[in-house]
């Protein structure tokens, strides 16, 4: 009974959000709808306060501490610290408490400061003044007091305080211009539209008299999607419903431009529910390969740590089996300890050993790695070579976590348009029914007269041709979403329209459209403007034609076409459609398809972007039916997308083909050079594009992705129609494998290029229908790809791009992938790839915003990968290995010492040394090394891309390398310990006969340790700037000065003075100096020998390159060369 009741309650509680999910209702001006209209369900919305801060004054300390200790590393150190506090441990809690405290405090201060800045920013935003219409008057309040349903007035150049529905604007046509630069980085002006029924409102009173409700979906982060409906109640009438879309929704963060003022309701979303706030939620974290290896090493070390502790505990109890060893007469336990149970004692001992050896996993490594990544990423933003004067921007780093991954890339997936190419379109020609028109270039700023500017190649006269020509040009003038701007200071794509009149520009989100409309102008048809839903065209005979714009069927990347429905002055309903050939031809019923297709293919081969244009005449009834379909779909609150797509599909049918256009998109500067370098560096470059195969293939040849010698394998729909997919795949696979076996090792002599199209790809990736041999195609496909140096995927939908990346990522080698693109359609693959790079392109900022790194041009990829990536990788690899090495050197002598002190957990070093070793004596040199090291000069790296292969596959962090470093560490530790041991063995080494104690022993080992470890880094440094000199010699000097000071004074706050005078006494002894020098030399010797031998016997390409630079320095033994010898 109770159970059921609870379950019901629980169910109610859990299912409650469901009721809220679908839509929300807003009462404009907080006026309730007329009774009976709808059930009144009061909904509560958050206020308009933006809270980006994480903490308040009160909860900062507990919450921040909680956040920090949630990280396992911090938690581990906290546990160690607590263990030290609770049980009697060899080292004082200070040794681990102080570093932990330091790390935690620094992080807390940093986060607190950042949070304070956020608080300040929040405050200034929340308190900024906003004009609200209340009872027919404009009242000024603060931003955070806004409520859903308020009517807000915004003036020019003000930022919208929340997401608003545009009710009316000062412009007579009910539009307003907005820049979303701070939102998505697009600085071009976008047009937003007022609700038609309210756009006539001019005064506050009028606006205030509005009685309406808005229904819309619940907040969601997509900036470009909004679905809603406004119901306007007029006296005694049925409410009028109007659809609301993204074009009615003004987003918080955007700025009003070129419009005096607007009225809008706080319609949808306030405060943290605005699209801006929703959009700044963190992206999924990407982790680099280096980080993965680091974690693996950590686990190994954790294992080593535990086994050391276990071994020592076991040995301890074995050793002190006899009571005379356990408790000799001179060294009794306290009564308390004696009474403790042996199991508890053993466990305490185990913990004490853990504490003693815990420094093998150093706190400071995480801090250093973080700092290295954070500071190191500045070198990318500072790089002058990656600064683009035209854009006025340099490279941007959005995540510094992946710096080193830039040096590990194996697959590059690049978009074509805007990435490989300029995305700077130029109209080349058009073809109407097979007749080609080529506009001449503008000469001296004068447009040549219309008649002479048209070059008719195939001029077969006839009325039919004439009619199609007229329709074709009108179609291109009408079927677009280009806006005309009468202003000079507009960014983006701008071209003058009229020389004499006030300058105006065409603006569009798609450069193709601008190119087409401009091309039309050069052919004599000028699009003038859209006024009161009439499009005006200046035709060849300088007459103005007006078409009423009835519907725009917007472009989307799935349909790959767009249409407009217009009504001509003669009263005909016309539907014009333009789109990719593949999406037009299947819908064409008449027209000179063959001629047009031939021309399109020819153009595509030349690398031009082609579009086909078609039209159809609609009868009155057909038009009404289309209208019906569209409005129904647009009014839907749910599944609007699908319904619209369905409606478009019904309307866009039975076309008459008019012709095709060709637009050229030039290759980006140095694109070919960059691709060639990437190839040489061992990366496989894939081009993923939505373009058609011929165009894309031409671009690939131009950018040297395919060379003349490349054997092209085709995996296209055309081929799979002839043979089954299965056969094609197997045949290609055979070709590839045969070639490889024939050419043997030298793969270079013949390389393959694969072309695959979207349709075939989805067939390949489709889970097998037959059930048997599932994933087979996938494997074969991957096998083929592995053997191809370049792959071109054309006709790709945006999601397919991500699929490809995912496919390669998941293949059995788990290669590191990089995706680069500039447009919204590349975002999915940028997010999917290990490293996502955005080009700050012309198609907006989405790619750059979602990327990990953003660069101005494709050519900068070369530097960011080959130079920065390479540097970051070797830097972090050394950093990680060195950190483990120096801590092995540090801790292993302690381990050995246990065998000589009765396994009593006696530390070898003093507390101060234990604490400061990782924090200050050895931390700065490696940090600075990892920031400025350049093992090869930048010029060499750029000149010889093949050096990139040397670090491929995480080569510096593989297990053998790790093992080498660990062994080196153990060897050095053994040398330190036993060197000191034999020196101390039952003798004195002062000239006055006095003896040294255990602390001198430890200090001697520690001194040798600090010097060896620092000098080892000095041996690894290939690039000695003043910074390296300063920090390497500086930290050694600091150690000496610190030791002198530490031992020079009786420290009043310490309860022991064990280090008093120890360091100085040690330095006063000659043999101590001699043995320090000896031990350092012996410790460094194996590494030097290994380096020299490796370099002489089997030098890597990098090592050759290093010598190549300094070849003149290597002259000493040249006279000894024997000419006969090899």
């Amino acid at each position: 009974g109770v159970c059921a009741y609870v379950r019901t309650l629980l169910f109610l509680y859990l299912s409650r959000p469901e009721i809220w999910v679908d839509s929300r209702t807003i009462y404009i001006g907080h006026k309730e709808p007329p009774p009976g209209a709808e059930a009144y369900i009061p909904q509560r919305f958050p206020d308009n306060r933006i809270v980006s801060s994480k903490y308040t004054f009160w909860n900062f300390i507990p919450k921040n501490l909680f956040e920090q200790f949630r990280r396992i590393a911090n938690f581990y150190f906290l546990v160690i610290f607590l263990v030290q506090l609770i049980i009697d441990t060899p080292t004082s809690p200070v040794t681990s408490g102080l570093p932990l405290f330091f790390v935690i405090t620094v992080t807390a201060i940093k986060q607190g400061y950042e949070d304070w800045l956020r608080h300040k920013a929040d405050c200034s935003i929340n308190e900024c003044p906003v004009d609200v219409v209340q009872r027919g008057k404009v009242v000024r309040t603060q931003s955070h007091k806004l409520r859903v349903g308020d009517i807000v007035m915004v003036r020019e150049d003000e930022t919208f305080p929340c997401d608003l529905i545009l009710l009316s604007s000062s412009r007579p046509d009910g539009t307003c211009y907005v820049t979303t630069a701070s939102l998505d980085g697009e600085s071009s002006h976008k047009t937003y539209y007022a609700v038609p029924d309210t756009m006539a409102f001019r005064t506050e009173q009028e606006v205030d008299s509005l009685h309406a409700t808005i229904e819309c979906e619940q907040p969601q982060p997509d900036l470009y999607k909004f679905v809603g409906r406004i119901n306007i109640y007029k006296d005694r009438e049925e409410p009028v419903a109007r659809t609301l879309g993204a074009e009615n929704l003004l987003l918080r963060g955007a700025t009003l431009k070129n419009t005096q003022y607007i009225y809008g309701t706080v319609a949808v979303y306030t405060g943290m529910e605005t699209k801006m706030a929703l959009n700044y939620q963190s992206k999924s974290q990407k982790r680099s390969a280096v980080e993965k290896s680091m974690n693996a090493f950590l686990i190994v070390y954790l294992f080593i740590l535990i086994s050391k502790a276990v071994i020592n505990t076991v040995l301890k109890y074995a050793w002190q089996w006899s009571p005379d060893r356990d408790e000799p007469w001179y060294n009794h336990r306290t009564e308390n300890e004696r009474q403790r149970h042996v199991v508890i004692r053993a466990f305490t001992d185990f913990l004490a050993f853990m504490v003693l050896f815990n420094y093998i996993i150093p706190v400071s490594m995480y801090v250093t790695v973080e700092m290295q990544k954070f500071l190191g990423s500045y070198f990318i933003t500072w790089d002058e070579e990656m600064f683009d004067d035209e854009l006025g921007e340099g490279a941007q780093v959005n995540t510094s976590d992946l710096n080193e991954e830039l040096g590990q890339v194996e697959y590059v997936f690049t978009d074509k348009t805007g990435t490989l190419t300029e995305n700077n379109m130029e109209f080349i020609e058009c073809c109407v029914d097979g007749n080609v028109y080529i506009p001449h270039a503008i000469c001296n700023g004068q447009i040549l007269s219309a008649a002479s500017s048209i070059d008719m190649i195939d001029s077969s006269p006839g009325g039919y041709r004439r009619e199609h020509e007229d329709l074709f040009f009108r179609a291109l003038c009408l079927c677009h979403t280009v806006q005309v701007k009468e202003e000079e200071t507009v960014d983006g794509i701008k071209r003058g329209i009229h020389q004499g009149r006030p300058t105006s520009f065409y603006i569009s989100s798609s450069p193709d459209e601008v190119a087409l409309v401009e091309g039309m102008k050069r052919l004599g048809y000028t699009y003038l403007r859209l006024k009161d839903s009439y499009m005006e065209i200046l035709n060849k005979d300088d007459e103005i034609e007006r078409f009423q714009l009835l519907h725009v069927l917007n472009f989307d990347s799935v349909r790959r076409r767009m249409s407009v429905i217009v009504k001509s002055s003669s009263g005909d309903y016309l539907l014009f459609c333009k789109g990719a050939d593949s999406s037009i031809f299947p819908r064409v019923v008449s027209g000179k398809v063959e001629q047009v297709r031939a021309r399109v293919e020819q153009n595509a081969v030349e690398g031009l972007r082609t579009l086909c244009v078609a039209y159809k005449k609609l009868s009155e009834s057909e038009y009404q039916e289309a209208c019906h379909h569209l409005t129904e779909a647009k009014l839907a609150l749910q599944d609007r997308e699908q319904r619209l797509a369905h409606a478009y599909d019904i309307i866009e049918r039975e076309f008459v083909l008019l012709g095709a256009t060709a637009v050229e998109d030039r290759l980006q500067e140095k694109a070919a050079d960059t691709i060639e370098s990437l190839h040489k560096a061992g990366m496989k470059v894939w081009v993923l594009t939505g373009d058609k195969m011929e165009t894309a293939a031409a671009t690939c040849y131009a950018s040297k992705l395919f060379r003349r010698s490349t054997q092209i394998l085709e995996l296209t729909k055309k081929r799979t129609e002839e043979q089954s997919l299965h056969d094609v795949l197997f045949e290609l696979n055979r070709t590839v494998i045969r070639q490889r076996s024939m050419s043997g090792l030298s793969v270079d002599c013949l390389d393959f290029g694969l072309i695959i199209d979207g349709a075939t790809l989805s067939a390949v990736l489709k889970p097998n229908q037959e059930g048997a041999g599932n994933g087979n195609y996938r494997e074969i496909f991957l096998e083929i790809c592995r053997n191809c140096s370049a792959v071109l995927c054309c006709r790709m939908a945006p999601l397919q791009k991500a699929q490809i990346v995912k496919l390669i990522k998941a293949s059995k080698e788990h290669p590191i992938t990089l995706a680069i693109g500039d447009g919204a359609n590349d975002v999915s693959m940028i997010l999917e790839a290990h490293v996502g790079i955005g080009i700050m392109g012309k198609e907006g900022r989405q790619a750059a915003r979602n990327s990990d790194y953003a660069i101005p041009k494709f050519k900068h990829l070369k530097k960011i990968l080959l130079v920065h990536g390479h540097y970051y990788y070797i830097r972090i690899a050394e950093l990680v290995q060195y950190f483990f090495y120096k801590n092995v050197c540090f801790i292993f002598p302690q381990f050995l010492y246990q065998f000589f002190c009765g396994f009593s957990q006696q530390p070898l070093y003093d507390t101060a040394y234990l604490t400061l070793y990782n924090i200050s004596f050895t931390s700065l040199p490696i940090l600075l090394y990892s920031l400025v090291e350049q093992h090869v000069s930048m010029e060499t790296l750029k000149r010889e891309p093949t050096l990139y292969r040397d670090i491929a596959k995480n080569s510096l962090l593989r297990w053998p390398v790790f093992l080498y470093w660990t062994c080196l560490g153990v060897f050095d530790a053994v040398i330190f310990f036993f060197g000191a041991y034999f020196l101390f063995d039952n003798t004195t080494f002062t000239s006055n006969g006095q003896m040294f104690g255990n602390w001198t022993f430890g200090t001697l080992v520690f001194t040798v340790l600090v010097f060896t470890v620092t000098l080892k880094l000095a041996l690894d440094t290939h690039h000695w700037t003043w910074i390296n000199h300063f920090f390497i010699w500086g930290s050694l000097l600091f150690y000496v000065i610190f030791s002198l000071l530490w031992g020079g004074i009786i420290w009043p706050f310490l309860n022991y003075q064990r280090m008093y005078y120890v360091f100085m006494q040690m330095l006063s002894s000659g043999p101590a100096w001699l043995s320090i020098i000896l031990l350092i030399t012996v410790s460094l010797l194996p590494d030097v020998i290994k380096k020299v031998l490796c370099r002489s016997m089997c030098p890597t390409a990098t090592e050759r390159a290093q010598v190549g630079v300094g070849e003149t320095a290597d002259f000493t033994f040249q006279p000894l060369y024997d000419p006969i010898d090899e």
Binding site: K283, E393, G997, P1071, V1092
Partner: protein
């Protein structure tokens, strides 16, 4: 595993808010990065490379320097005279056997034994007399920390309230122990004396100096009596002697500058040894004049007041006489190590020369072909 969760930049997801008055970020854009050597990573740098060619001379130089040093050290070490005698009394034949058997802390009458020995060579200059203990874990953690440095530094509070670290040697019969702790409690208390047998048969005691055996800094700074002015007996009023001691700390020596905490035997003992087998300086036999060696060739007797028990933990007690050079006592290890390392370096230099000779050509041709 750890690093995967550790991420200092959890701030990424946060809203970088810019006021409505316009984004400062937008203004920051468009700024050309500075063309400084540091920011462009073009700082002038020395770029050394470890090739066989550059390392070769270093190896030869190290070899050439180390071998002579090593020989020097070895010869010096060999010239040092050292004599060691084990007086534990494990064997039945040993004169100290009886003492070692009937040892008890409370015995009122000290047990003495004398061991004759013969020096084959005369010992010149100052001769240093050590006592050595084996299998004695002075570096055991419980032992090392069982002391109170404040008390030893003359702190009056610590005198009456010894640190907890001294447990279980902090209080005895509810009185604070001074000096407290296991180290002090187990202080070495054998008395060693040497007698020289003149050729004419008389026993001449060898004069032993008991000062100058502790570090100067320890004696003068680190260790201090509770009150400098007061009578020592009064200063230690209210404390009790360590359990194993025969006499209280203020009766260590008749010399007031060598009594109490600043007694040098005590200070030497308090410096804990690094390894379980160790020696500590006991006495110095100073050089008399230039004509006669400090210890002549001949027969001697070591007189031991046998107090210190070591047999329970299989320990050994030794007495060592040693001369000292500039490099300390007899230790052939350092010299041998120097000679070995020097030779290895020299040998490696030769090997590298051959390798360089062989592979250098190949490298060079590879470079040239590039």
């Amino acid at each position: 595993m750890m690093a995967s969760v550790y991420n200092a930049k959890d701030e990424d997801g946060h809203i970088s808010v810019s006021g409505p008055s316009g984004g400062s970020a937008a203004a920051m854009r468009g700024k050309r990065p500075e063309n400084t050597a540091f920011k462009q990573q073009r700082l002038p740098a020395w770029q050394p490379i470890l090739t066989a060619g550059t390392v070769l001379p270093a190896f030869f130089i190290i070899g050439l320097i180390f071998i002579p040093i090593g020989i020097g050290l070895y010869v010096t070490s060999n010239n040092i005279k050292e004599f060691e005698i084990d007086y534990t009394g494990v064997d039945m034949s040993s004169p100290c056997f009886n003492c070692s058997q009937n040892l008890s802390w409370n015995s009122s009458r000290p047990c003495t034994c004398s061991i004759p020995f013969h020096l084959d060579q005369p010992y010149e200059n100052n001769v240093f007399m050590y006592y050595g203990l084996s299998n004695f874990y002075q570096n055991h953690r419980r032992y090392v920390k069982s002391r109170d440095d404040s008390q030893l530094n003359g702190d009056l509070d610590a005198l009456t309230k010894p640190s907890k670290e001294c447990e279980p040697y902090a209080y005895h019969e509810n009185k604070p122990i001074a000096p407290c702790g296991a180290i002090a409690n187990s202080m070495f208390n054998d008395t060693l004396e040497i007698f020289y047998h003149d050729p004419n048969g008389t026993r001449v005691p060898v004069p032993l100096t008991s000062t100058g055996i502790a570090w100067w800094a320890d004696k003068h700074v680190k260790f201090r009596n509770p009150s400098e002015n007061l009578n020592l007996t009064a200063a230690f009023q209210g404390t009790t002697k360590p359990v194993n001691w025969r006499r209280p700390v203020y009766e260590m020596d008749s010399d007031p500058h060598n009594n109490g905490f600043i007694n040098e035997d005590f200070i030497v003992w308090m410096r804990t040894a690094a390894l379980p087998t160790f020696r500590k300086l006991y006495r110095i036999i100073s050089k008399k004049d230039n004509m006669v060696p400090t210890l002549q060739r001949g027969n001697y007797t070591l007189e031991v007041v046998y107090n210190y028990p070591v047999r329970s933990f299989d320990g050994r007690k030794r007495m060592i006489l040693s001369t000292i050079s500039w490099m300390g006592g007899k230790n052939p290890f350092l010299g041998i190590a120097y000679i070995t390392v020097g030779s290895v370096c020299f040998f490696l230099g030769v090997v590298l020369l051959i390798i360089h000779h062989k592979y250098g050509n190949r490298n060079n041709s590879a470079n040239n072909s590039n």
